[in-house]
Each structure stands twice: as structure tokens, then as C-alpha cells.
């Protein structure tokens, strides 16, 4: 390997186009990556984390904080904002300066790689995992007269779980050392992660400083969208309200909310082909929501071929006859033949039935066993019987 290779993606040939219309501009602002300078509706959490880190910085001690919340509630963005503010304060000499390091459990191939990454970010050395662990322990356990405080963010903490839990143990043990001056902000999804997967001695080192991010309410989501749009007239007021109410009722995930809005702008663009300026209305939002939340199965059944549909009907008939929600292909085959006779159609051969069954199994409308059992293979529906009935009824 060239040791000091600088990774880079090639540049583009032409410059990227600037957004031409209001809708394109809105779409750009609504992209999840366009994180605003300050997150709306997360002021309290911001203040809590800021105070925690600030006090530790001023005292020159270390500590841990555990931050939890369902995905899409702004945990990582808030923590990053805190760090940015602290760095600004440190530059103005209001606070002692500090080092900032971040790792993400999902971006590591193995939990032990965490040591390697932390060491590389701190000192620039590239060593193996065991060596890195020893070096880091030496660094944090021995007193250094001029050491700066280190702030470490550990995102996706649950991925650092190993059977012996030594990675987590070390991470939370270092801040308790007298000389380490290490502040750790650990982020994960579940609130009870320390109790659930950590050994007692790890959990006790994590301490009791915890914070949980609540899912957004519909008012907050509404505020987030309008703050991103920043008084641009791209959306109807009611349309924004509809999205935020719908998403808040389901998950309170801001990412989902922004995605639906972006999709709605696309649909709106589709609908108005003439270059007339158009804004996103309720109908567009409804279409986007339907697209993202509707069940794909019903459509799949309606678009299946005739014999595939008869096969599904035969399964329903067999279930009703036997009273059990499982049948062998042989039983379904007999029902299928009976149905074909009623309809006056040519009945398929067993080979064709097997082909139909495996096709339906491949798109997971059915759950099937491995096909070497041939006629004695057992079949189950992957959706409720009512859904299948509903799919047939509308025709």
C-alpha cells in the first residue's frame, strides 16, 4: 500500500447546476444532509449537553454521558452542534481548548478497531488493535502535565458490544482515571442499553448522567419544516401540517418527514409539466404518503398471472377446509384443479404448479420450504388472508 495515499473521488467535469426553480431550491433545503446551523426544538437538550461538557472542561476532569433516543430525533446533530459551539468558545479563550475525536460503531469492521481509530485520530499513528489498546491505556493512565482535555463521541454504541465487553469497559474506565481528562458522549438508540447488555461493572462506570431524546411532536415537525423552508412559498400550510401529523403519529422521525416532503416536490414537478410555478398541495402530499406507506403486496397480487391468482385462491380454500394456516403443495394442487374445473380451464401440470409456487415464494407472498420436498413442501401465506381476499375483491 502506498502508505500516505490521499483518498479522493475524482472531480466532476461540469459544475453542478444551480437550482432553477422554487421547487428545486426547496428540495435542496429539505435534503437530510442540509443540516441547519441550530436545530429547532432541541434547545433544552442542547443546553444540557453543553452545560455538562462545559463544566467538565472548566474543572479539568473527565466523565461520561449516555444519550439515547429513537432514530431521526436529532441526537447526532445536536451533539455536533454542541461541539461546534464549544470549539468557537475555546477559540475565543472563554474555555480551555480541547481535542475532539469521533468514532461510529457502524463504521468499524470490528469493535476492537475502535482503539485503532481513536489512536490514529489523537496521534496519527497506525498500529494494530492490541498495540493501540496498550498505547491508549498508557496515554490515559499516566499523568501528563500539559494534557488537553479530550472529548470523544461514540456513535452507535451498541455495536461495540463484544462477549467480554472489554472495549466498552475500557472506554468507560478511562474517564474515571485521575489523569485522563477524557469526556465521553455515548449515543445509542435504546434507553435501557446499559441495563440490558452491559455487565454491572461497565454500567456503573457509565454513570447515571443520561439523556433521552423524545420523538418529535407534530408541532415540532411543522416548525422544523418551516424553518428549513425559511419563508419560501413552496408548500401550502395545510400540506405541511398533514405531513407532520402523519409522521408524528407513526414514528416522529424527522428524516422520514423531510423525505416525504421531498418526494412531494417531485410529484408536484411531475404533475406540472408546463413551466408554470406551482406549489405543493395536499394532493401531492397524500400521494407521496401513500407511495411510502402503502403495502406492496396487494398490487403484487393484482398483477400476478391468472394461475398464480388461482393458486392463492386454492390456498385460501385449503386453509378454510383444513382450518390450519399451513398446507402442503399436494393439497393446494387438488384445490387448484378443482377451481380450474369450475372455471372450465385447462388445469396445469404438477411441474407448472411447482414453478408457480416457487415464483410466489421468491417474491415472498408465500413462505415455502426448500423445494426438494416436492409435493410435500409446506406452504404458508406471508400476508393475512384478509389482504388476499381484499386484493381479489376489487377486480
Amino acid at each position: 500500500t502506498p502508505r500516505n495515499a490521499t483518498p479522493e473521488i475524482p472531480r466532476r467535469n461540469h459544475e453542478a447546476q444551480k437550482p432553477a426553480s422554487i421547487l428545486e431550491e426547496a428540495r435542496l433545503r429539505l435534503h437530510v444532509s442540509a443540516i441547519p446551523e441550530s436545530l429547532p426544538c432541541r434547545e433544552e437538550e442542547f443546553q444540557d449537553i453543553y452545560n455538562f461538557v462545559e463544566s467538565k472542561l472548566i474543572d479539568g476532569t473527565g466523565g461520561c454521558m449516555y444519550i439515547s433516543g429513537v432514530p431521526g430525533t436529532g441526537k447526532t446533530a445536536t451533539v455536533h452542534e454542541v461541539i461546534r459551539c464549544l470549539q468557537e468558545a475555546a477559540e475565543n479563550d472563554d474555555l480551555p481548548s480541547f481535542q475532539f475525536v469521533e468514532i461510529n460503531g457502524m463504521k468499524l469492521t470490528d469493535p476492537h478497531q475502535a482503539y485503532v481509530q481513536i489512536l490514529e485520530l489523537l496521534t496519527g499513528q497506525k498500529v494494530t488493535a492490541t498495540h493501540a489498546a496498550a498505547l491508549l491505556a498508557k496515554l490515559f493512565n499516566t499523568p501528563g502535565p500539559k494534557r488537553k482535555t479530550t472529548v470523544l463521541i461514540v456513535d452507535e454504541l451498541d455495536l461495540l458490544w463484544t462477549r467480554k465487553q472489554n472495549v466498552m469497559y475500557n472506554l468507560f474506565d478511562w474517564p474515571t482515571q485521575k489523569h485522563s481528562k477524557l469526556i465521553i458522549l455515548a449515543i445509542a438508540n435504546t434507553m435501557d442499553l446499559p441495563e440490558r447488555i452491559m455487565m454491572n461493572r461497565v454500567a456503573s462506570r457509565l454513570g447515571l448522567t443520561r439523556m433521552s431524546f423524545q420523538p418529535y411532536t407534530y408541532k415540532q415537525l411543522q416548525q422544523i419544516i418551516s424553518s428549513r423552508l425559511n419563508s419560501m412559498k413552496a408548500f401550502e400550510e395545510d400540506a405541511i401540517q398533514l405531513v407532520s401529523r402523519k409522521v408524528a403519529a407513526l414514528s416522529g422521525d424527522a428524516r422520514r418527514c423531510l423525505d416525504i416532503c421531498r418526494r412531494a416536490t417531485e410529484i408536484c414537478e411531475f404533475a406540472s409539466q408546463k413551466r408554470t410555478p406551482e406549489i405543493v398541495r395536499m394532493a401531492h402530499i397524500t400521494e407521496a404518503i401513500d407511495e411510502m406507506f402503502s403495502s406492496p403486496y396487494i398490487n403484487a397480487i393484482r398483477n400476478a398471472s391468472l394461475h398464480e391468482q388461482i393458486f392463492l385462491k386454492a390456498i385460501l380454500a385449503e386453509f378454510r377446509r383444513a382450518g390450519v394456516e399451513e398446507a402442503t403443495v399436494q393439497q393446494v394442487y387438488h384445490q387448484h384443479i378443482a377451481l380450474c374445473r369450475i372455471e372450465g380451464m385447462q388445469s396445469p401440470t404438477v411441474s407448472e404448479i411447482m414453478a408457480i409456487c416457487s415464483r410466489l415464494g421468491a417474491c415472498r407472498l408465500l413462505l415455502v420450504e426448500s423445494s426438494n420436498k416436492y409435493l410435500h413442501m409446506r406452504v404458508r401465506l406471508n400476508i393475512s388472508q384478509d389482504d388476499v381476499m381484499y386484493a381479489f375483491k376489487d377486480e
Binding site: 483518498p7 473521488i9 435542496l28 428524516r255 403484487a300 404438477v350 407448472e352 414453478a355 417474491c363 410435500h376
Partner: protein
């Protein structure tokens, strides 16, 4: 055969035929042949817009193309990519990374492949250097350095997307979706899968499902029988409108004309329509239509220059053959007798498993009652016949054969349906009459 004939018939005709064969075979067998797309214009526009925005504006996105097997997902994507590369603003502005779940079976291999296809700096020739962890760090670093407006957008195409979901921790998917959600190099992830449950299989690990943008493009094969008839005329026909191979490339224009007229006539023929309707009722995917037409087209020779309805009919007969019934046709009379004995056992004991001894007893009863010494074979011979059936997988043991159980007492199941047995007996050449009678009467003589 056809080659030799064409030599004898040295003339344009032979050349025409081989040309037709070549064009059509290419069209049926090579999936990448891009022609017109049927019935998915809406999806096509959606995908094209999406990818165009990635290339032109540098917008990150993700989409999943879902449709049953053989419904033209890859064809759609290839079609769109071809159109994209022909656009002026896009040329040289889009890096493509193709991954396939069947080849990249774990993240390590997938990562090497990505690095190789992107020609990053740790690639020398075709070799990728560094450990798995280093490769991941390197790739993430490379993507982090870029930004929306200046770096080249990367298009990741994950074929067999559902197989990527089974990778450990879903690290690769998480990172790809994470990049597409953050202000780094613009990345668009397109997944292709035939599984309809787009959410549940991502739910195994929580963050990924939420990073995953819920946008899916569904492809269903168009609904009507008539579309199939129309699309038939095009694959078989060598019309100018349909593909690049028009009369211009064709040596003999009058032959092309004749061929196309013939196909036109065929598509109005009653037999052909029946054949197609039957096929369409069974499956709607275009691939099986191609297979059927391939069988028909392979009959075309110099002496038989045009496709006829009977060719198609013959092809569909091939296509509809029941494989197990065909095996039964090739069995000896003794083996047939054993199968009938098993059928009776199934009828009497309602599908309970049986062993060799029971089958043998049943067979003995037949010989005694019907008072025939013709089939009075010794037991080892019958055993041999039974083992032959076992090897053909017409009967199957319900548990693994172990050393402890003797072969005679191993419990078995018959993998044939009564209908199959009776149909096969009807078609069995020179079947003895008493065997036929025995097969028909199951309970009457017990």
C-alpha cells in the same frame, strides 16, 4: 444439419436464415439487448429523473426497484443508464459501481470491489491493498472529502439487494445510506430485488431501515393479454422501429418483409393466440415468452424458412411437459407395479408413510390375486427396483437413512400425485392390461 443444407442451397436464402437466427437469438438470450420497454413508462420516467438529478445537481438519493423475477428490472436500469450516458450534461459526470449480492457475498469482498471500480489510490492494477478495516476507513475518508457541488457523483447499483441485508451488522448498507444522507460526496444507491417486503427484511437492524429512504419503484408486468400478443410480434419481427437491426442491416430486404408479414399473420392465428394465452395465464414474465419463442425459432431451417403455428404449438408442448410424469414413462413394468402398490397404500392409509416391506406385500397380493406368474420376481430384484425409484427421487425417505435402520424398514413417502400416476399410465407404451386394471381399482379387491 441446417448448416449443411444451407451450403447445398447456396444462395441468399441460407444467408438470410442464419442472419435471422443470429438476430433473434441475440434478442432472446442476451438480457442486455435494449429495445422498447413495455408498460413501465411511468417507472422509467421516475428513475430517469432521479438519476438525472444525481448526475446534474449532485443530489443524493436512494431507491429500490422491486418486481418479480423476469419482469425487466435490469432491463429498465440498463435502459435508463444508456439514456443517461448519451446526455451531454451527464457524460463523464457519473461514476458507476455495480455490485451483485451473489458475487459480493460479504462486506469484505464488496468493499474491495467498490475500491477497485472507483480506482482509488490504494489500487494498483487490479489489486486492492490493505486490510478490511483499512479499506473501509479509506473508502469512507475518500467519500467524506468530497462535497455536493464539486465531486463526481457515485452511483451504486446493488443487484440482488436482499442478499446484502444478510451481511454482518449490515455495515456496508448503513455506510452507503449514511453517506447518501450527509453532506459528503453525492451518492445514489439503487437496489434491485424481487422480494416484495421492502421494510421487514431491513428491520433486522434498526438504524438501517431508517436511513433507508422509503422510495420504491414497483415493476409489474403489464396487465392485458393483448399486450403479450403485440409484444410477440416485435421480438420475432425484424421491424425497423423496434431495434437497430432493420432491413438496412439485413441482406435481403424482401425476406425481411416476408418474415414480418408472416409474423403479423401468425399473431392473428387462433392456435398461436391459444398458445400465448395459455402461457400468459401461467406466467406474465417476458423471459418465459422469450424461451418459448427461442424453441420455436430454433426450428427454422432453409427447408422450413418461416415460422408456422405448429412450431409454436410444438414448442409450447415442450414447455408444458411434466418432468416427473416423463420419468415415469421411462420406468420398467416392475417399477410401475411398485408405484401402483405405493399409490394403493397411500389411498388406503391416507398418506401415511410406508416402508419397502409394505410395498412388497402389496405387490405380492397383486400377484397372488391376479394369479399371474409373469411378474413373480424374487425379493432382491424387487428391492433393486425399489432402490432405483429411490435414486430417481420418486420416493423419498422421511428421515435420513442411518446405520441402525435396515433398508427394508426405512419409512418413505411417494413424491407423485395420483393424477400424475394415472396420466403417466395412460401414456405408458405397451402397458399390460392387468396392471392397468389393478391401478384403476384400488379398494375393490382388498
Amino acid at each position: 444439419m441446417s448448416k449443411r443444407k444451407s451450403k447445398e442451397n447456396s444462395g441468399t436464402n441460407g444467408e438470410c436464415i442464419s442472419q435471422v437466427q443470429k438476430i433473434l437469438r441475440e434478442r432472446f438470450c442476451r438480457r442486455y439487448a435494449t429495445g422498447k420497454l413495455f408498460g413501465i413508462e411511468h417507472q422509467h420516467r421516475h428513475l430517469l429523473e432521479l438519476l438525472k438529478r444525481t448526475a446534474v445537481h449532485g443530489e443524493s438519493n436512494s431507491a429500490l426497484i422491486i418486481g418479480p423475477r423476469g419482469s425487466g428490472k435490469t432491463a429498465l436500469l440498463n435502459h435508463v443508464l444508456k439514456e443517461l450516458t448519451e446526455m451531454k450534461q451527464v457524460r463523464g459526470n457519473l461514476l458507476e459501481v455495480h455490485l451483485n449480492g451473489l458475487l459480493q457475498t460479504n462486506d469484505k469482498v464488496a468493499l474491495k470491489e467498490i475500491t477497485r471500480q472507483l480506482h482509488l489510490e490504494n489500487v494498483v492494477g487490479d489489486k486492492v491493498f490493505g486490510s478490511f478495516a483499512e479499506n473501509l476507513a479509506f473508502l469512507l475518508e475518500a467519500l467524506r472529502k468530497g462535497d455536493r457541488t464539486s465531486s463526481c457523483p457515485v452511483l451504486f447499483i446493488l443487484d440482488e439487494f436482499d442478499l446484502f441485508v444478510h451481511h454482518k451488522n449490515q455495515t456496508l448498507l448503513y455506510n452507503l445510506f449514511d453517506i447518501s444522507q450527509s453532506a459528503q460526496t453525492p451518492v445514489t444507491v439503487i437496489g434491485l430485488t424481487c422480494r416484495q417486503n421492502r421494510f421487514t427484511f431491513l428491520r433486522r437492524y434498526k438504524p438501517v431501515v431508517l436511513y433507508y429512504r422509503r422510495r420504491a419503484i414497483f415493476i409489474h408486468v403489464a396487465g392485458l393479454y393483448y399486450t403479450v400478443v403485440r409484444s410477440l410480434e416485435r421480438p420475432v419481427g425484424i421491424s425497423v422501429s423496434w431495434s437497430a437491426v432493420g432491413p438496412a442491416d439485413f441482406p435481403d430486404e424482401s425476406f425481411a418483409q416476408k418474415w414480418n408479414n408472416n409474423v403479423q399473420c401468425l399473431s392473428e392465428d387462433k392456435t398461436v393466440q391459444d398458445v400465448l394465452q395459455n402461457l400468459f395465464h401461467r406466467t406474465k414474465d417476458l423471459r418465459s415468452l422469450h424461451l418459448l419463442l427461442m424453441l420455436a425459432v430454433s426450428n427454422v431451417t432453409v427447408h422450413h424458412p418461416l415460422i408456422t403455428a405448429s412450431d409454436l404449438h410444438e414448442a409450447s408442448k415442450h414447455y408444458r411437459m411434466d418432468s416427473k410424469a416423463n420419468i415415469v414413462h421411462g420406468l420398467s413394468v416392475l417399477e410401475i407395479c411398485l408405484i401402483i402398490a405405493m399409490k394403493h397404500l397411500n389411498d388406503v392409509y391416507e398418506g401415511e408413510p410406508f416402508n419397502f416391506q409394505m410395498v412388497y406385500n402389496e405387490f405380492q397380493k397383486f400377484i397372488q390375486r391376479k394369479a399371474h406368474c409373469m411378474y413373480n420376481f424374487e425379493k432382491p430384484v424387487v428391492m433393486k427396483a425399489f432402490e432405483h425409484l429411490l435414486q430417481l427421487e420418486l420416493v423419498k425417505p422421511i428421515e435420513r437413512p442411518s446405520v441402525r435402520t435396515q433398508r427394508e424398514y426405512l419409512l418413505m413417502r411417494l413424491l407423485l400425485d395420483n393424477n400424475q400416476i394415472m396420466d403417466a399410465l395412460q401414456a405408458y407404451p405397451n402397458c399390460p392390461t392387468d396392471v392397468k386394471q389393478w391401478a384403476a381399482s384400488s379398494l375393490s379387491w382388498l
